[in-house]
């Protein structure tokens, strides 16, 4: 397995793990850091040391670091806390359409409470310009929230340029620095950012821990969002998880040493991957290459639908968008904000490299991705029209490659498309096509009728693995059928044969539609 999904989460560095373990298994490591006895003090000291380590990477003071359960909580605390403290009603907030869900969803929530939010659209390179932000300010603007580095494209926003300008205007500035920490130098002692969110698990630390930087001078004031006990200067209550905090401290200390070298190592590997995949015609890079962190490469492959692409890459851990939104499998809202259409947005892959990524892994990944893209394009009715078919050796995938858990009959047909292709135009040949590129689903079936029935059937499909499997199943089912006792396979039969669940029932309906269209045509042919 090649892991190129470090922007979703990083492996725990062994040194970080070693720093954490004593606080899980030592006889005197388990005290509650809030307790007033020897064990409590020992845990508290460890927490405070970690606070210094986290602050050091950010150029902050230790007492400006508030530990949270992660960056989602930190973003929630920053936005809700700042607005609640200042009074929500009518307050104006400026943010962008490409923020992480935890910022966007929080802004939507704040709108329900009476706040007004401007969502800025990035340029085609994925950048939110400083001028654009300044132009969006209004006299009642209370807060600007902007991510430093976008999690999908890796594009760096000009927060360094913005911070002094916003300070001069007296507008509070929150920066989601989850993807920036450990990848870019952050000097909060020189940069007038008021609030800044970071996460440990994007930085080789543990999951379940993050922090919000809250500036002391001038003081950024927040209302707490989790009450009880008054931990973390009253801004965030709850027992401090010593081992996780120690892990975050260790990870940030390592990052302070390693971040330059990590970037220097990643850039040529990333560029090598891009050069290899650039050879595929019509692959596009998302995000201005001059503004992207060295670890990230986001590409769209026209004609290769994202879900099928991932399914053909069982040995490659990559993301087709933010991990937080892929549960819903909508095309990436970030890429759509960059002006990509639904089709290109849903045919994208995000490669995010890490500290341990090797040259061999990059080369293997490039080959696997190229094969998968060519294979899907060869199956696609769109691609055929545009460029002519590309012959690919469609090696059958193994049952154990079905890592996303498609139904076995779906996987068998998707992984071995013996009936893919088109038939030449000739008397007795029919062809029908349903779906559209915008719907990210197309199915075409060609038939050739002979004396006794359907002599040959072929299909082409663009869409998820289930759509492709429906095409393959239909072509196999139709070929050799006599027309005398022909039963039109309907969606119910298709779903039963391929064990298609409710969430994919639309794929079976496409199958039914394409057969109906063919049946219509063949009956007209016979009547003439």
């Amino acid at each position: 397995m090649i892991y190129l999904d470090h922007a979703a989460t990083t492996p725990l560095d062994r040194r970080v793990r070693d720093a954490m373990l004593p606080w899980l298994d030592d006889v005197d490591g388990y005290g509650n850091p809030a307790s007033d006895h020897a064990l409590g003090r020992r845990a508290r000291q460890a927490v405070e040391q970690a606070r210094v380590q986290v602050a050091a990477l950010l150029g902050a003071q230790a007492d400006e670091i508030i530990f949270t359960s992660g960056a989602t909580e930190a973003n929630n605390l920053a936005l809700k806390g700042a607005l609640e403290f200042r009074g929500l009603q009518g307050a104006h907030v400026v943010t962008s359409r490409i923020e992480h869900k935890s910022v966007l969803d929080t802004c939507r929530y704040l709108e329900t409470l009476g706040a007004r939010v401007s969502y800025l659209t990035p340029n085609a390179g994925g950048v939110i310009d400083a001028e654009q932000v300044m132009a969006a300010l209004r006299p009642d603007t209370a807060l600007v929230s902007l991510m430093w580095v976008n999690n999908e494209t890796g594009v760096i926003n000009p927060v360094e340029q913005l911070a002094p300008q916003l300070r001069a205007r007296g507008v509070l500035f929150h920066v989601d620095a989850v993807q920036a920490a450990g990848r870019l130098p952050i000097r909060l002692d020189q940069l007038p950012i008021d609030l800044l969110s970071v996460s440990a698990h994007k930085c080789y630390g543990p999951k379940g821990i993050g922090a919000l930087f809250v500036r002391k001078r001038p003081r950024a004031r927040l209302s707490p969002q989790i009450h009880g006990g008054g931990h973390e200067q009253g801004m965030r209550s709850g027992t401090l998880a010593t081992h996780q905090i120690v892990g975050m401290g260790a990870a940030f200390e390592l990052a302070a040493v390693a971040q330059i070298e990590d970037g220097v190592r990643a850039a040529p590997l990333r560029d090598r991957l891009w050069h290899a995949l650039q050879r595929l015609p019509q692959s596009q890079r998302n995000g201005d290459p001059a503004r992207v962190v060295p670890q990230l490469l986001n590409l769209s492959f026209e004609g290769a639908e994202g879900e099928s692409l991932r399914a053909l890459l069982p040995q490659l851990a990559v993301s087709s968008g933010s991990a937080c939104s892929s549960a819903t499998r909508e095309p990436s809202y970030v890429l759509r904000a960059l002006g990509r259409d639904d089709e290109l947005a849903s045919s994208s892959l995000r490669f995010s490299l890490g500290r341990a990524t090797s040259l061999a892994e990059i080369d293997t990944a490039a080959v696997q991705v190229s094969m998968a893209v060519l294979r899907l394009r060869a199956l696609s009715p769109l691609w055929d029209e545009a460029t002519g078919a590309v012959a690919v050796d469609a090696t059958a995938l193994r049952a154990e490659d079905n890592v996303f858990g498609y139904p076995v009959p779906v996987w068998q047909r998707f992984s071995h498309t013996a009936h893919a292709g088109r038939l030449p135009q000739a008397p007795g040949s029919f062809s029908a096509q349903v779906g559209s590129p915008a719907a990210r689903s197309m199915l075409r079936v060609d038939l050739h009728l002979g004396r006794s029935g359907i002599e040959t059937a072929r299909f082409q499909a663009y869409g998820c693995p289930v759509t492709i499997a429906v095409g393959e199943w239909l072509a196999a089912r139709l070929q050799g059928q006599s027309l005398q006792d022909f039963q039109v396979p309907d969606a119910v039969e298709i779903r039963a044969a391929l064990e298609i669940g409710d969430d994919k029932s639309h794929c079976a309906l496409m199958g039914e539609d394409v057969v109906r269209a063919l049946w219509q045509q063949s009956r007209q042919y016979h009547e003439h």
Binding site: M1, Y3, D5, A8, T9, L12, R17, L24, V27, D28, Y30, G31, N32, A34, S35, D36, H37, L39, G40, S69, G70, T72, N76, H100, K101, S102, L104, D105, T106, S199, H201, P206, K207, G208, I209, Q225, I226, H227, G228, G229, G230, H231, S237, G238, T239, A241, T242, H243, Q244, P314, L316, A317, V318, S319, A323, C324, S326, A327, V403, F404
Partner: protein, 375 residues
């Protein structure tokens, strides 16, 4: 090597729990929301743990919502069931954990009428007063703890539930101290929401759960991401969740044996304390969890005693760790009508699985020396 008598503040991580966690601290490192193989492995582990935590309290797996701990669970329960509604009233027990009290009181800012329910001098809910409060107009939520973190007093939740429901309100139960110490059944108790914490039952810190009954409409506390079916955003803390699951499983298996063991220690300690004049055991004579004793010494400087015990290597507490360092006497004891000076010097001993009879005897010996020195 200190003697640790502060298991209500936090417990050590059981070695079997740590063993279950280790693969997720070193091996597969997926984000549980990622769709690729590593992500799926993490997802499977999270769901297996959900079943185990559900089994601990007789709930359905789908009713288990992960949080960062008991404090977040309590905040989510109180704020999540009130957000966006026309404000009415919220009640909470006078001896609740600060996380419940302060979360409840914060609702006052958005127009909710927030009232404490009195307890008697034994720490037991004042039932006649409670029933009067229930009848005083529209009510959204009542929050009561199953077992008190300081005195160990067990509240009769099953008696409260039908009264709360008859008043048209939801019942939230803070079961952080009860789970793993006494049987807790979400359905039998009649709870609509229930808070749990991992690090009070030999699991890791930084993870907890809120049990949310199927028909409860809950607004999120953390927005962003589709995790926990949109009710709690944030990347899942996989290792800690797995640890909590294992800890819950062990708690179910060992519940009886654990309770019996700490009961022996508590009986030994209480017998020793009773032999000594001017010792007052709080909530004496009412049903308490078996590991907890809170006591005061009439006529002695309790704070000096706590310092002395710390110096001698005994980890005990005056009350809630979440309220320590503030120099304020316990609100629990004040709520029970205990005088401030006595409450201020209260000592809470909370036993765990590692404690021994010898440690209890050593503790009593130090107390005797202190008393002799102070007399």
């Amino acid at each position: 090597m200190p003697v640790y008598f502060d298991n209500n503040a936090t417990t050590r991580v059981d070695p079997q729990v740590l063993e279950a966690m280790l693969p997720y601290l070193s091996g597969p490192h997926g984000n549980a929301s990622s769709l690729h193989r590593f992500g799926r492995m993490a997802r499977d582990a999270v769901e297996a743990a959900r079943l185990k935590v559900a089994a601990l309290v007789g709930a359905q797996a789908a009713e288990v919502l992960w949080t960062s701990g008991g404090t977040e669970s309590n905040n989510l329960a109180l704020k999540g069931c009130t957000a966006g509604l026309k404000p009415t009233r919220v009640l909470y027990g006078a001896t609740e954990h600060p996380a419940v009290m302060e979360a409840a009181e914060s609702l006052g800012d958005s127009g909710w009428q927030v009232e404490a329910v009195a307890v008697d001098q034994r720490g037991v809910l004042d039932w006649p007063a409670f029933e009067r409060q229930l009848a005083q107009g529209p009510l959204r939520l009542v929050s009561l703890m199953r077992a008190n973190n300081e005195t160990g007093v067990i509240q009769d939740i099953a008696r409260a539930a039908p009264l709360v429901h008859a008043a048209g309100a939801l019942l939230h139960v803070d079961a952080v101290q009860a789970a793993g110490k006494i049987p807790v059944d979400f359905v039998e108790l009649g709870a609509d929401l229930m808070s749990l914490s991992s690090h009070k039952l030999y699991g890791p810190k930084g993870i907890g759960a809120l049990i949310v009954g199927g028909d409860v409409d809950l607004a999120p506390l953390h927005h962003g991401g589709a995790q926990e079916r949109g009710r709690r955003g944030g990347t899942e803390n996989v290792a800690a969740i797995v640890g909590f699951g294992r800890a819950a499983e062990l708690a179910v298996q060992e519940l009886g044996a654990r309770a019996a063991q700490v009961q022996t220690l508590r009986d030994r300690l209480e017998a020793g304390l009773r032999a000594w004049p001017r010792v007052r055991i709080f909530a004496d004579g009412v049903e308490r969890i078996a590991n907890t004793v809170q006591f005061g010494l009439d006529g002695y400087d309790g704070e000096a005693l706590l310092m002395q015990l710390d110096r001698k290597g005994f980890a005990v507490s005056s009350g809630s760790a979440c309220a320590s360092g503030k120099g304020e006497p316990s609100h629990v004891l004040l709520g029970m009508g205990i005088a401030r000076d006595i409450a201020k010097g209260a000592v809470r001993v909370s036993f765990g699985q590692d404690n021994t009879a010898e440690e209890v005897d050593q503790f009593l010996e130090v107390l005797r020396t202190f008393a002799a020195g102070a007399a």
